[in-house]
Symmetry: D2
Subunit: 133 residues, 4 copies
């Protein structure tokens, strides 16, 4: 069973640049929205995790910009869990039009488990299971 979630995103003026397309740093933000909602779909939330002292900073990101995205586009962002251990979580992302037909770009992130003191901290087995299931 594939383990993913899909969110909607519409492009407003603030995300465009003078080439008339979406400025590329916005993809980074969409990927964050995607994994936040993936986590929420598991009955968890980043916010609650942080209240429990579990932080998940990004340690690596990669994005391929395949086709330009225009102002006012309605997008689907698919976030796919690739791997989760007590050390880190790896997601992949696919950015589509609203019919999921045109692929505009793909991405990857690695997030590492950290405590509130900023030091790496193993996640509990329960948390890993909740994310995986």
């Amino acid at each position: 069973m594939e383990n993913y979630s899909i969110i909607d995103h519409r492009v407003y003026y603030n995300e465009t640049d003078q080439m008339g397309r979406v400025y590329h740093s916005n993809y980074v933000v969409w990927m964050e929205k995607g994994r936040t909602e993936f986590i929420r779909d598991k009955g968890l939330s980043y916010k609650k995790l942080e209240e429990l002292g579990v932080f998940l900073p990004v340690s690596h990101i990669e994005i391929n910009f395949t086709k330009p995205i225009e102002y006012d586009s309605e997008l689907k962002i698919k976030t796919i869990l690739k791997k989760v251990t007590r050390i880190k979580v790896e997601f992949e992302y696919e950015i589509y039009d609203k019919e999921l037909k045109t692929l505009y770009g793909t991405g990857k992130t690695t997030n590492i488990f950290m405590g509130s003191n900023g030091v790496l901290k193993r996640a509990s087995k329960d948390l890993v299971e909740m994310i995986k299931k």
Copy 2:
């Protein structure tokens, strides 16, 4: 004696939009940079203030967009202290080209003194004097 400071700013791609001009929310950020450097010119710093438990959130902002600003423009942002009390600080801003000849826009902010608990807190007289001088 007028009480102001001037900073430089160059417009990169990320600040443009598909009208081929600077997207208007960026002026808000420039005004923050302007008042941060005004404070630093007084021998203070926002960062040190925060370490002392003094926060200065914005309670009001106003901006007039007079002329569009293009990609790669070199700007001067003038931050003028209008008023400082133990309750709040009021700044005005003027956004110019690098020769200070063309005025692209003007702005105003009110920032209020707050403690680290998020509750309003009077600034010390010393702090008010340091900002004023």
Copy 3:
């Protein structure tokens, strides 16, 4: 009959700052989203207007930040048409929690009608009527 529309917005990490609240320039973007959807509710769209050579840059903005907004908040942004003439459109904005009970802030914008050449250009009476109705 009041003339308004309401959109939903959830706060993600990218909009927070180290005070643990929403950074204030984001309200500017929400207000843009609000008026874009107000226009869409009238059967128009910014995108189509631009294709017809009608641009609506912001000439003035004002925001009052009443209460801080936290990460992961679910907001309602109410956009209220105050005035539309062949020269300009004035909107007011109210930013609420999802139950529309807590008011976090208010704003105002003035947008002016412009042609694709960047010169002010009167809107057609039809367009004014469509926005008003």
Copy 4:
């Protein structure tokens, strides 16, 4: 001879998030600033290139976030040319403190040459030579 340029960047409030560090999408923007100034150091400018119908959209980006970056940090961003052909330009980036001692992160981008019509277009040999030299 290594082929690089270095720019300065100071972190303001807008770039922080509620973890009290720089939000990761900002690195993407710094990398754009870095390569823009690299190009300018060669006596060229993105702006002039665009006026000549040469666009350079990003097709791939990668970032490693090694150490968190705090508010008010003074950074040096080093942009290193790795490869330039008539098809694309590859840069690498190193993000340091102002003494160039602490490495906060590294990145890579690929930009492809495109015409004003949005279609891939080979760069002239002269342009390639100017970037390389």
